[in-house]
């Protein structure tokens, strides 16, 4: 279901990247003890579920998955001609003393991640927050970096990166639009 643009990561590539990230998460944290995944709406949530499935395959244990909507934490509300609809934040477990892996599809300016971290802090005090992204496209405006990256893609600011999902929210491919 790719639109026009260059496919920079196809379905198999996305799968391999997610599998590698899952292994890296386990290696860094020495297993799934105390681990929770929180995806950023909407792409990040789908990817967080993918990662949770892989972690379960490897470790045989399902980690909790939550969703965070960062609309209310944006720093550019005034800049939007019309307000964005607010999605639901669903974190039905405590973050107190947990290791949170924040999951997003594309890392760009870092402002979304800043907003998501603020949102997480309002839900409790995690031991640590780590960041997993499928694509890092550069152009950071804040001192933020990802702990786990599927693919580094150098881009210009005029380009757009889209992670495509199918009807059942499985990632299909990653497209670079000029």
């Amino acid at each position: 279901m790719a639109t026009e643009g260059t496919v920079i990561l196809d379905g198999a590539g996305v799968k391999r990247a997610l599998t590698r990230i899952a292994h890296e998460i386990l290696e860094k944290n020495k297993g799934v003890g105390g681990l929770v995944l929180v995806g950023i709406r909407t792409g990040g949530v789908h990817l967080a579920h993918e990662l949770a499935d892989r972690l379960a395959e490897i470790e045989g244990e399902k980690v909790p998955v939550g969703a965070v909507d960062i609309t209310l934490y944006r720093d550019d509300i005034k800049g939007h001609a019309e307000h964005l609809p607010v999605g639901k934040t669903e974190i039905p477990f405590t973050l107190e003393g947990r290791i949170v892996v924040l999951v997003d599809d594309v890392l760009y300016t870092g402002r979304t991640i800043r907003a998501a971290m603020d949102a997480l802090m309002d839900h409790g005090r995690p031991t640590s927050i780590q960041l997993a992204v499928l694509v890092d496209r550069g152009h950071r405006e804040l001192p933020i970096r990802a702990d786990f990256v599927g693919r580094n893609v150098p881009t210009s600011r005029t380009e757009n990166i889209q992670v495509m999902f199918d009807a059942i929210n499985k990632p299909t491919d990653v497209v670079l639009q000029k």
Partner: protein
């Protein structure tokens, strides 16, 4: 899809899509109200003035809590402390307040349409917290959210509204909102309290008796008898009113078995509703109050971006 209104004065002015957006935002806002830290930074630095020319506990508190949960600063002005008691006109009060650069004025006023008058005079956003017998949009929205919580939809539901329709801004907002969303509204009340021509709004049926209105209803909304607005002529006395238009466990059986009962408050127990119904299983009255905060958060959030879209 976005919200393009600077003000929210009446549900009559909103489209079905606007109402859907406000309700869905309110559904998302609800999560904030169940957290330990009930605050998000969204409206940080915004100033909201609650200008209440009529007394109110629920609505004013609800708007104030909503504003604070979005990190806005709020100032309350109530009738006794306002310069209106010294003879200042509404327009002068508003212009003076405006000089202090508020972002939103939430106002309740006894005169229908005073918000329209004001919105032409001042550029900041205005939210109607009730104007005379005109509209009470936040109540209409929270009623719709509460109904949607139970049935998952508004389309195709039979909603009975019983009581003093003529004086009720809640009824007007409910009728405007619910009919836009596809519900069918049945009204009943003493003939002196039902405005003529209300059927012309479409999807509205006026029933001669309460029994017909609540027969097989999914939702029964009881209105408060507004003793402060009554002339002597409209109603013989509370006991007689209660016999013909009061909701009790007996006549509630006419409605669907899982029908929900709502009331905008404050309740005159024993007049429009018996205590058995108020405190019964089918009562959603406190749920309405709970949803009020989320709905008002959604309203404040959406008007704050509206100015730019004009």
């Amino acid at each position: 899809m976005g919200f393009k209104h600077k003000d929210i004065i009446a549900l009559r002015d909103l489209t079905k899509e606007d109402i859907e957006l406000l309700i869905s935002t309110a559904e998302s806002m609800r999560e904030i109200n169940s957290r330990d830290i009930k605050k998000v930074p969204t409206l940080r630095g915004k100033t909201i003035i609650n200008l209440f020319y009529e007394s109110s506990t629920r609505t004013r508190t609800s708007f104030e809590i909503a504003a604070k949960r979005l990190s806005a600063d709020t100032v309350n002005i109530s009738p006794s402390t306002s310069s209106a008691t010294k003879g200042e006109t509404l327009a002068d009060t508003a212009l003076n307040l405006l000089a202090m650069k508020p972002d939103i004025i939430v106002m309740r006023h006894a005169v229908s349409g005073s918000h329209y008058f004001l919105s032409k005079k001042i550029p900041c956003s205005i939210i109607n917290a009730g104007d005379g017998a005109h509209e009470h949009p936040s109540q209409g929205l929270l009623d719709m959210l509460t109904i949607k919580d139970k049935f998952g939809r508004l389309d195709g539901l039979k909603v009975a509204i019983v009581g003093d329709i003529t004086h009720s801004r809640v009824a007007r907002s409910d009728i405007q909102g619910l009919t836009k969303m596809g519900s069918h509204v049945f009204l009943a009340g003493p003939p002196t309290m039902v405005p003529p021509g209300v059927e012309k709004l479409g999807n509205v049926t006026v029933c001669p008796t309460m029994k017909e209105a609540i027969q097989d209803a999914d939702v029964v909304i009881m209105l408060r008898i507004q003793q402060e607005r009554q002339g002597k002529t409209l109603m013989p006395n509370a006991r007689e009113y209660s016999r013909y238009f009061g909701l009790n466990p007996e006549n509630l059986k006419l409605a669907k078995p899982d029908a929900m009962v709502m009331h905008p408050g404050p309740i005159n127990r024993g007049v429009e509703m018996s205590s058995y119904v108020v405190d019964g299983d089918q009562s959603h009255i406190l749920k309405q109050v709970e949803n009020g905060v989320a709905v008002r958060m959604a309203m404040l959030y959406h008007v704050c971006g509206g100015e730019l879209a004009e």
